[in-house]
Subunit: 194 residues, 2 copies
Amino acid sequence: MEQLEQKIRQFATMAPGGIVRVDSFLNHQIDTAFVQLLAKEFARRFSGLGVNKIITVEASGIAVAALTGLEMGGIPAVFAKKAFSANLGSDAYYSTTIHSFTKGIDCDLIINKKYIGPQDKVIIIDDFLATGEAILGLMRILREAKAEVKGVGAVIEKTFQGGGDRLRERGILVESLARLAMENGNIAFVGNPK
Amino acid sequence: MEQLEQKIRQFATMAPGGIVRVDSFLNHQIDTAFVQLLAKEFARRFSGLGVNKIITVEASGIAVAALTGLEMGGIPAVFAKKAFSANLGSDAYYSTTIHSFTKGIDCDLIINKKYIGPQDKVIIIDDFLATGEAILGLMRILREAKAEVKGVGAVIEKTFQGGGDRLRERGILVESLARLAMENGNIAFVGNPK
């Protein structure tokens, strides 16, 4: 997506460990008008698949997931929580453990069983697709819930961390709005694989 | 807001400790079309104040804050983070410690100094206003950043936990879309104070 590549060229910064920082517009300060453009693009790419729900992970996936749900006709967006709180009550939950490479810790993803089930045709939306840990964790939950995964949408895919390929090898439709490669320590953009 | 009161009557459940669970439409599963209505109402109530930025806290404030930013002309929404991660890099941050009553722990609120400053006229938007801990924490950060707080918007104010009054006593404009009182263990709705 050309506008996103421009935005990344202009505002992204690199941090050690292959970290691409886009907190000026995507995952700390949210450029709401720009994220709406991203959501419209996801809605366009995932149209016609009968999607009735968006799934994401707190916190940085929420804005783009909610706006994508709105652009796809006002369908709900469910975000997996990373910790139990009293707000979750005594209901039954799906949970799975993933490793966060940016935080260096394991954490749980938790979704209330009420909000996902066999009637759901979902897309998973997130800000980043890196190793794919979070998305594969969500997919384990969705499989247990017998929901159908129609695709995965990432704002930014870091191709050098392999998660996109892991998903595509499983036959998952992956739509990344920008795909980054690392060439001599610099960011380069690559197209979506056919 | 009548539509919100109806939604709460229909879908909210009570948990011990005065907890009002609205995770079916607001803070776990997000009813995106409905949250857009809430955002339009905040935009209406805070119009004409010159607001150029929305501030909230991860995670459950993000959807309504982002949509409110969009409804107010596409202004940015900044969410305070609760933990440092490698994504935050080596920039300078504002931080303050608050107590989370629903989680029973202290946590930090963290905002990159780049994204808030004396040029900002902000409203703070959150899903709940209970004791006011999170919002008072954000206000400490905003004062340090010399940003101007034009108001506080809560989707649901729990009047029996006192946070709304603490803010109003300080002269803060507080707009709550639903104000809940507890009467004999049941939820009752009360109007906004004049």
